[in-house]
């Protein structure tokens, strides 16, 4: 082995080790933040004063509901960025960013929907209603699940990346539609950020401890998203490397 090859191998191994340590630190921070979120949501945050009984207890689902929706939003936004950068640079690493973001976004989006469905039973007296916000969220999730199925249908790696990037660009249109649906259409879903919905059922005022818990939830879910994204992105890179090796052998 030549000196330059040996140096390159050593540098690559050192980089891989430091990346691995970085990811381990990130995952430890994520676990701590998620633990803090559980404590804050269940014990620290004061209950909503205008609610009572089961509705008041169930209100604590709010922190996981909002945390996961923020994580899902960041995931879908990153998938948009990934697809745009891929289409400009044609670098497969960005296609992997898009795929990993979509996968994690689906998990967090499904978490949002699940938490919302369970919370709506004591609040709206039903697990499911075709409210504009819930309907558009479901459409968004289905569009992104279809993205993953669509990818699997294309064999050529570059063609798959190109077409699925174009798909991801258009799929993102459903994200702002979901955000504005409770404002544009008649909805009973409360509006948490920038505004209020007079028709909303189950609304409550956010006090100081609630706001602090909301920040913990946002941070915890951002960390969770980052940890899962990095792990999945590296896994997809390994998958492509295996594909390349297999082609080389054949």
């Amino acid at each position: 082995m030549s000196t330059s090859t040996l140096t390159a191998t050593t540098t690559s191994a050192t980089r891989q080790r430091s990346n691995h340590i970085g990811w381990l630190i990130l995952s430890t921070l994520t676990m701590l933040a998620m633990g803090a979120l559980m404590g804050a949501a269940l014990l620290y945050a004061k209950p909503a004063t205008n609610l009572a009984g089961t509705e008041q207890i169930a209100q604590r689902i709010f922190y996981l509901h909002i945390g996961s929706v923020v994580g899902a939003f960041i995931a879908f936004l990153l998938s948009l960025i990934g697809s745009i950068v891929y289409l400009i640079k044609r670098d497969l690493d960005w296609d992997r960013v898009t795929q990993a973001s979509v996968e994690v976004g689906i998990i967090l989006g499904a978490s949002t929907t699940l938490a919302g469905a369970i919370w709506s039973k004591p609040t709206w007296n039903t697990y499911w209603t075709w409210d504009p916000r819930i309907t558009t969220t479901t459409i968004t999730l289905l569009l992104y699940i279809a993205y993953l199925l669509f990818r699997n249908g294309i064999d050529n790696r570059q063609t798959r990346a190109r077409f699925s990037s174009i798909y991801a660009l258009f799929a993102f249109l459903s994200v702002p539609l979901t955000y504005y649906s409770a404002r544009w259409f008649r909805s009973i879903h409360p509006i948490v950020f920038n505004g209020a919905n007079p028709d909303a059922q189950g609304s409550f005022n956010i006090g100081a401890t609630m706001l602090q818990t909301l920040w913990v939830a946002t941070l915890a879910y951002c960390l969770l998203f980052s940890t899962l994204l990095i792990f999945r992105w590296r896994q997809l890179r390994l998958q492509d490397r295996i594909e390349a090796l297999r082609e080389e052998l054949e």
């Binding site: 207890i57 699940l114 938490a115 369970i118 899962l228 896994q235 295996i242």
Partner: protein, 46 residues
């Protein structure tokens, strides 16, 4: 309390299921990479 517990458990299960899937996939990929590397070494020897 039932709704609160159901939501918290449900969300954790969802995330854990994805983490387990990622772990299993990682194991499969590492095994595949190992066997490919062995096949390449064998070919190199021949």
């Amino acid at each position: 309390m039932t709704f609160l517990a159901a939501a918290f458990i449900g969300l954790w299960l969802l995330v854990m299921a994805y983490v387990i899937y990622l772990g299993q996939r990682q194991g499969q990929l590492e095994q595949e990479l190992h066997s490919l590397e062995e096949a390449m070494t064998d070919r190199g020897r021949q």
